[in-house]
């Protein structure tokens, strides 16, 4: 399978380990970064990772940050993405089988590596169980449209990055 993956600077090592794990299982991985531990912002990577899925370049996406919340929220705000933030195997299975989730998110500081790998295995192996009821729910979720103009615009966040560079955000 083609897997799009992304993370923030808190869990770069964990993401790199997952890339190696996935490649070891024969998957092709698009690594959207971040690639080092320099402070950056999870929505950049959540959005990039998700857009590789909606564009068809990847089959599924995986996003990881400290708790998993921020980066999976940002992935879910991309049109056409149904992202599942999980900490256990069964929720991953459900999200794929019933909601046909196309991105899975986890907390690299919450879920241990063995469990993360098992969750990903189950997510990739599980198949959407098509039914009228499931199809209809997915249609309803997909009809909740976010900003279409955001998609594939690499400068979408520039205003905030400029403000950041200019000291507009107090650096706690």
């Amino acid at each position: 399978m083609k897997i799009s993956i992304g993370c923030d600077h808190i869990v770069t090592d964990e993401k790199n380990n997952l890339v190696a794990y996935l490649e070891g299982k024969g998957h092709e991985v698009i690594d959207n970064g971040t690639y080092d531990k320099e402070r950056t912002h999870y929505p950049i990577y959540g959005k990039k990772t998700a857009e590789k899925v909606t564009s068809g370049e990847a089959d599924l996406g995986i996003v990881v940050c400290g708790t998993g919340v921020g980066i999976s929220v940002s992935s879910n705000k991309v049109n056409g993405i149904r992202s599942a933030l999980v900490g256990d195997v069964e929720t991953a299975r459900y999200a794929k089988e019933v909601l046909n989730a196309n991105v899975i998110g986890m907390g690299g500081r919450i879920v241990g590596e063995g469990l993360r790998e098992n969750i990903i295995d189950v997510f990739l192996e599980s198949e959407y169980q098509q039914s009228e009821e499931n199809d209809k729910m997915i249609e309803r979720i997909d009809a909740l449209v976010a900003n279409e103009e955001a998609k594939n615009d690499d400068h979408y966040f520039d205003e905030f990055l400029e403000k950041w560079d200019n000291g507009g955000y107090p650096d706690k």
Binding site: I44, V73, S83, G87, T91, R140
Partner: protein, 142 residues
């Protein structure tokens, strides 16, 4: 605090228990789903709408897995929702993500753990500072 709460049929029993907890903690509870027969989409939409109108401070949505409400809530403008299954994340996600809604899966999270998650979520405050750039980015996305 004013807390908007809602559940689908599978989260109804845990929602009733969490309402009692919120009462005991002295919060004002706005139950958006007194009926027990909704699906998670409608339950989520009702809670999110109250948060968007700023009629409540925070929202809680309960269904079987939390995954569905997470997908639905985060498609709404200005809503940052976390699917929470541990107490540590409940605290962290307020501090870092300014999460306005949490989802809890009653099939995954036991009732005692659910109570501790809700307590940690309501005790914590947003850290602001450098975290605001990420929240601004999320809010621009939708």
């Amino acid at each position: 605090m004013k807390i908007a709460i809602g559940s689908d049929s599978k989260g109804f029993e845990l929602k009733q228990q969490i309402k009692e907890l919120l009462d005991r903690l002295g919060h004002e509870v706005l139950d958006q789903t007194p009926e027990a027969n909704l699906d998670f989409f409608d339950a989520t939409t009702k809670v999110v709408s109250v948060i968007q109108k700023e009629q409540a401070d925070r929202g809680i949505i309960i269904d079987e897995y939390g995954a569905g409400p997470f997908m639905v809530a985060n498609k709404h403008q200005g809503i940052i929702c976390a699917n929470v299954f541990d107490e540590h994340s409940a605290k962290m996600t307020i501090g870092h993500n300014n999460t306005s809604v949490i989802a809890i899966g009653a099939g995954i999270v036991g009732p005692k753990l659910a109570e501790k998650i809700v307590e940690a979520y309501l005790d914590a405050a947003y850290d602001g500072g450098r975290h605001q750039i990420r929240v601004d980015m999320l809010n621009k996305m939708c």
